[in-house]
């Protein structure tokens, strides 16, 4: 949280308290602001929050432990399909959300370990290629496991997935507060996702400033030296893969329930790269970077879509460049400019792995 506060431009360093409140108010008010531009923008915000969770999880693997993972979206897929299998008419199973969520997380963690074992000895480019292959394997499984036994329903995907129901409260229905006032379902999802993102931030921050976080950072900086001070690098790598995957799995569950529909095309290689881009764009290895990167890069294409078409129509009288094409072009441009101007990311803060000031405070009390 402090990293995020410090990242607020201008205000962050001068008045951290004000910056903190500004962030909290913005986070709460965001869907109402977005609503001014239309309901679809609230939906986009909801997706931005899911991307934040993914970026946070991937940042744990890539930024903290230094394991380049190009197939991260596979864990998102595992989570989403777990929810689709266990809470939809597809198999006729309708388990409640609070049961499916831990299961999705657990399956994703197992998938993370399955990926981790064969790549223990790989690093850098080799690791990237194998993880990329892993991501594709999962996607192709989803695509083709409809024959001879129909498990995933193939390219059609699974639909009519149950909405999230918390303690008998259906999030997909508008909440009727009084006769006139009702809260739209998109808001409800927004606040649920926001809570999940905040939970993730707290978990990851605790991990970062712990013996595990330091072991990851040590392994990332110098694996041989990490071994020489007694870090069991095998276990630490598996832990990083499985914990990183857990966040992907949880985000996947939420995605499946929110969307009501999953299909293999949501989990393509481009998505993996998009999430990695968010992490790199924001600033690898720090939580604030992952959040800001995910927020900016999830919103940017949508804004572009909104602006590009009318702009081209007024300028040229017709749409010359499809927004989809423009999106890739501008994203690549953004990345190139980034590498040139701010190679450490938008928020190049150094991540901390210790809390020495707590000790001083404790020492003063003695």
């Amino acid at each position: 949280m402090n990293e995020l506060v410090a990242a607020v431009p201008w205000l962050g360093k001068r008045n951290p308290m004000a910056a903190r409140w500004l962030l909290i108010i913005l986070a709460i008010a965001a869907p109402f602001i977005a609503m001014q531009f239309g309901r679809s923008w609230v939906r986009i915000l909801d997706f931005a929050l899911l991307y934040m969770m993914l970026a946070l999880g991937l940042n744990l693997v890539v930024g903290f432990a230094g394991l380049l993972d190009l197939g991260y979206i596979a864990f998102y897929a595992v989570g989403a399909y777990t929810f689709a299998f266990l809470a939809s008419p597809h198999f006729g199973i309708h388990l409640p959300f609070w049961m499916v969520l831990p299961l999705g997380a657990a399956f994703a963690a197992v998938a993370g370990i399955m990926l981790g074992f064969p790549v223990l000895r790989l690093r850098g480019d080799y690791l990237a290629i194998v993880t990329l292959g892993f991501g594709e394997i999962i996607r192709i499984f989803m695509l083709n496991l409809n024959y001879p036994v129909n498990i995933t329903n193939g390219p059609q995907g699974i639909n009519m997935i149950d909405p999230i129901v918390l303690f008998g409260w259906d999030l997909s229905r508008n909440l009727q507060v009084t006769e006139e006032i009702s809260i739209h379902s998109l808001y409800l999802y927004y606040y649920l996702f926001l809570a999940c993102v905040i939970g993730s931030i707290i978990f990851i921050q605790r991990l970062q400033i712990s013996r595990v976080g330091r072991a990851w950072a040590a392994m990332r900086d110098d694996e041989l030296a990490a071994k020489a001070i007694g870090i069991n690098t095998r276990n630490m790598k598996l832990l990083a893969f499985s914990l990183g995957a857990t966040f992907g799995g949880v985000a996947g569950c939420l995605f499946g329930a929110f969307q009501g529909f999953v299909s293999p095309e949501s989990f393509s290689l481009m998505e993996s790269i998009a999430v990695l881009t968010m992490v790199v764009f924001g600033g690898m290895g720090n939580i604030a970077g992952a959040i800001v990167g995910a927020f900016v890069l999830a919103l940017l294409p949508e804004i572009l879509r909104d602006v590009a078409i009318p702009l081209q129509q007024t300028l040229f009288g017709k749409v010359i460049l499809d927004p989809e094409v423009l999106r890739m072009l501008l994203l690549s441009l953004a990345m190139i400019l980034m590498m040139l101007l701010r190679p450490a990311g938008l928020i190049p803060a150094r991540a901390r792995y210790a809390h020495p000031e707590n000790l001083h405070r404790g020492g003063a009390a003695k």
Binding site: R211, R214, A354
Partner: protein, 257 residues
């Protein structure tokens, strides 16, 4: 004299190169033991085999009366052997304090659940780790740089930090690979004081070093390696007079293969 580490007929081969041949030596508790020899004699290879970075082709190490597992660095560190590197290998993005705290990893136990819930045990352990890390930094004399990112430290301080990190694993045997390399006379003098302090505090030290003055002034006993064989082992004054040692350093050709 109680022996702490006993190497029995250690052999290591890299393809056609026999890096170590039947090296046997015994290090006693509380001594500073030097390992010297010309470049390429196999000193660092011996360290790598000892600390589990390489698996030996033959022989075994007996530490504190029982055999060391080969090729399992974290278990060997757990048994009480720590090392530093010839070319400094710090975690360069971490601060000095975080480096030393990482070194304490093997002596801490907090699990994922404890870390996520921040229970009392985890908090207490984290506090102790921080405290001990400061102690170690003070011990080697770089406490004022605790919050400095380690890659920005001066060369001599990086060497000290590496020793502090190794000490944080609470070793009984500290293996230093050329700790004085690249240091000036003042820094070497300070290093000598530090190593003497470490020995005084009950840690046995094994030392690879080229600085003859340091080795002669510091070590209780010295072993000399040449072409992967031990050619001498004695008190420093005797080793200096040893015919085979002089030949090895000055190129007498006796051991040329």
């Amino acid at each position: 004299m109680i022996s702490l580490l006993e190497a029995r007929n250690i052999g290591k081969r890299f393809g056609g190169l026999q890096a170590l041949t039947d090296v046997s030596l015994t290090i006693n508790k509380g001594e500073v033991y030097g390992l010297i020899g010309p470049n390429g004699a196999g000193k660092t290879t011996f360290f790598n085999v000892l600390t589990g970075a390489y698996v030996p082709d033959g022989g075994e190490f007996v530490f504190n009366g029982s055999e060391l597992p080969s090729g399992k660095p974290h278990k060997i560190v757990g048994r009480g052997i720590a090392r530093t590197f010839q070319n400094i290998r710090l975690f360069k993005e971490l601060t000095a304090l975080e480096n030393v705290m990482a070194g304490h990893h093997i002596r801490t136990k907090a699990g994922i659940w404890g870390i996520l819930t921040q229970n009392r045990f985890t908090r207490e352990e984290e506090r102790l780790t921080t405290e001990r890390a400061y102690e170690m930094l003070r011990y080697v004399g770089i406490e004022r740089f605790a919050e400095t990112v380690s890659k920005n430290l001066s060369y001599g301080d990086q060497r000290r930090l590496e020793i502090a990190r190794a000490l944080a694993t609470e070793p009984q045997l500290l293996a230093l690979d050329e700790p004085a390399a690249g240091m000036n006379a003042t820094e070497t003098g300070q290093l000598k004081t530090l190593i003497e302090q470490i020995r005084h505090d009950g840690v046995t030290v094994m030392l690879i070093e080229h600085d003859v003055k340091l080795v002669m002034g510091l070590c209780d006993r010295v072993a000399v390696l040449d072409f992967g064989r031990k050619i001498a082992e004695d008190v420093p004054a005797e080793v200096q007079r040893n015919e085979a040692v002089i030949n090895a350093y000055l190129g007498g050709g006796k051991h040329a293969h």
